[in-house]
């Protein structure tokens, strides 16, 4: 059992609050992605779990042990770093064997486990090489193999793919997901790449300014963002937002059209809809096309609705051009509403 409990963990650097009392629970064998823009505190949180950084207040538990006072070596973790941190003065074999040697595993066993892990990561023919003789992708594989070889309770990954080029990143993403699923190790994975987060995670925890704003399944994050920030951060292109004026009895006026919304006692809300959840060519809402971007699989059109930018996704065969007026119909069950504080308002 290696569930991780993070309880009221806060971190201050001088006067700046990197983390504000974070609570998070990661289930055994779960793959959790910490997602956020740079400077949101995700790496700090990961390093606190690893023991490379000490929390100002709060507790970290791995399994049934409280670990926040332990050295990294006593926490049962392994970590993969953004710049791989493959030891340059050791061969690939010695790099993978390093953690096992520290644990005083027998030589024969080390030999067996290094070979097995190397095969898993497809680097068995590189075992005699030094880090300087490897490509970035190969170093990445060595770093992951080194972490897996010690069979840790928890694997922590700090933007492990962000130094790879796009094609290799996509390849490694798929491979890493399958390998980590096989190993059944509890994983915390830090990234700023939402595609990585969506495609790999069992659960995504979105961080913003030192808070966890939402921690739930990728689909849920996408469909029901807890805050306006999450809606605008997740999805490419991001969610559309339009001001909505309350006409009473749960009816709102949005872009000159009336919509049924939540029955709340406020003057206005914000109306939100994803670009692909809009049916084009019908409905009362009108948007003037400002930019047309054909992307092959579809066309992304940026319109203007009552002076606000409003993106829609249309079929790649559509004949549209800049200056056209488009009729837009948001799919009713995909419309979300946010209040003045940016919180999701249930309908």
């Amino acid at each position: 059992m290696a569930e991780i409990k993070i309880q009221e963990v806060a971190k201050q650097f001088g006067k700046t609050h990197a983390l504000h009392s974070v609570d998070l629970r990661i289930e055994d064998k779960e793959f959790l992605v910490l997602l956020g823009a740079s400077g949101c505190g995700k790496t700090t949180l990961l390093r606190i779990v690893a023991g490379l950084e000490t929390a100002t207040t709060g507790e970290v538990w791995i399994g049934d042990r409280r670990v926040d006072h332990l050295a990294p070596k006593d926490r049962g973790i392994a970590m993969v770093f953004q710049n791989y941190a493959v030891f340059p003065h050791m061969t690939v074999f010695e790099n993978i064997a390093f953690g096992l040697r520290m644990k005083k595993v027998h030589n024969a066993e080390i030999d067996k486990r290094v070979k097995r892990t190397a095969e898993l990561m497809h680097i068995e023919n590189l075992l005699a090489r030094y880090s300087g003789q490897l490509s970035g992708g190969q170093r990445q594989r060595v770093a992951v193999a080194r972490a897996l070889a010690t069979e840790p309770d928890v694997i922590l990954m700090d933007e492990p793919l962000s130094n790879l080029d796009a094609l290799l990143r996509m390849e490694m993403r798929t491979e890493l997901k399958s390998i980590l699923a096989q190993s059944q190790t509890t994983t915390i994975y830090v990234t700023h790449d939402q595609v990585e987060a969506m495609s790999m995670a069992d659960r995504i925890a979105i961080m913003h300014q030192g808070h966890i704003v939402q921690a739930t399944s990728p689909v849920e994050v996408y469909r029901n963002p807890a805050t306006r920030f999450v809606g605008s951060f997740i999805g490419n292109p991001p969610m559309n937002f339009l001001p909505a004026k309350n006409l009473g009895n749960g009816v709102f006026e949005v872009g000159g059209t009336r919509f049924k919304g939540p029955d709340v006692n406020v003057d206005s809300l914000e109306f939100a809809i994803r670009p692909e959840d809009i049916v084009v060519g019908q409905g009362e809402m009108q948007g003037r096309i400002r930019v047309v971007e054909p992307l092959g699989s579809h066309i992304q059109a940026s319109c203007e609705v009552n002076g606000t930018l409003f993106r829609v996704v249309v079929d790649s065969n559509s004949v549209i051009k800049t200056g056209d007026m488009l009729a837009l119909e948001p799919t009713a069950d995909r419309i979300r509403w946010f209040d003045a504080d940016g919180k999701l308002v249930p309908v």
Binding site: G51, L52, P72, K73, M79, A85, F87, P88, G99, K103
Partner: protein, 277 residues
């Protein structure tokens, strides 16, 4: 070809000549004295004092043999080696941890400390020499190899700190962190990962400390009487010595220092932040 482009080429030619001339001049500035020193050392005493000179020395070993057999040279050479080795050990064992601390930890007064490390070199040694001699006599360190090594260590230490600081800073902290997560304590991570990587640089920094001590003459002359190091001995004895003896003594002092500094040059550049790798 147009006139304009010819004039551009003409200009660059002038610039090229200027650069070449300066390089040649600076090289000669350094190399001619060394040449004279070496050439005269490997000439017979008669040739050293005679005129005209030959361009290639006769490789006569009489001068150098005479110098090495000169009374006191042997023990002075031995003292120099002892003092320099001790200086090397002391300044690395104190300087390397300081360099590590500067590179890896944030602490109050870090910037001030770095400046102060350099400031120790701004303090003129003659000013310190007299009170230090008195103090050394009181504690019984006067005229000892250890006493002189301590003084030389204070001279070499700033360089040891700064060179090792830049060495440790050149090693990504993630390597250390990776070692910690793989089961190392701070000390084990240092021994298994950091030390092997900085070893060549540490050796260079040690050699530099050795050379600082090897070349130092003032403190050596003031603080020792019986146990003179080679520079102090030469300063004292060679004033009235014949010319060929002066040349031989000079060469024995200069050549090892030059060779050592040449060996570790890339680390000395690194100390001043000039990338030359």
């Amino acid at each position: 070809m147009s006139t304009a482009s010819t004039s551009v080429i003409g200009q660059s030619r002038v610039a090229k000549w200027a650069v070449t001339a300066s390089v040649v001049f600076l090289c000669l500035w350094v190399l001619v004295p060394i040449y004279l020193l070496v050439a005269n050392t490997f000439s017979s005493p008669a040739e050293v004092n005679g005129f005209p000179k030959r361009f290639w020395p006769s490789f006569d070993t009489e001068s150098i043999e005479f110098f090495l057999n000169f009374h006191g040279v042997g023990s002075a050479l031995w003292n120099s080696l002892l003092v320099a080795s001790l200086t090397m050990i002391l300044s690395i064992s104190v300087g390397a941890p300081a360099g590590y601390a500067l590179s890896r930890f944030e602490f109050r007064g870090k910037g001030t400390f770095r400046v102060l490390v350099l400031m120790t070199r701004a303090f003129p040694l003659p000013l310190l020499a007299l009170p230090m001699a008195v103090m050394f006599i009181k504690v019984g360190l006067d005229d000892t190899v250890l006493g002189l090594a301590i003084v030389h260590t204070t001279l070499a230490l700033p360089f040891a700190v700064l060179i090792t600081y830049s060495l440790f800073s050149g090693i990504p902290v993630e390597l250390e962190e990776a070692a910690w997560t793989l089961g190392c304590s701070r000390f084990q991570a240092f021994i298994k990962v950091i030390f092997p990587l900085v070893l060549p640089g540490i050796a260079a920094s040690a050699i530099f400390a050795f050379v600082v001590s090897w070349n130092e003459v003032f403190a050596a002359a003031v603080l020792t009487i019986e146990h003179r190091t080679l520079p102090a001995f030469l300063l004292q004895s060679l004033d009235d010595a014949p010319l060929h003896l002066k040349f031989a003594g000079g060469a024995v002092l200069v050549i090892p220092a030059l060779v050592f500094i040449f060996m570790v040059r890339k680390y000395l550049f690194a100390m001043w932040g000039i990338a030359n790798r």
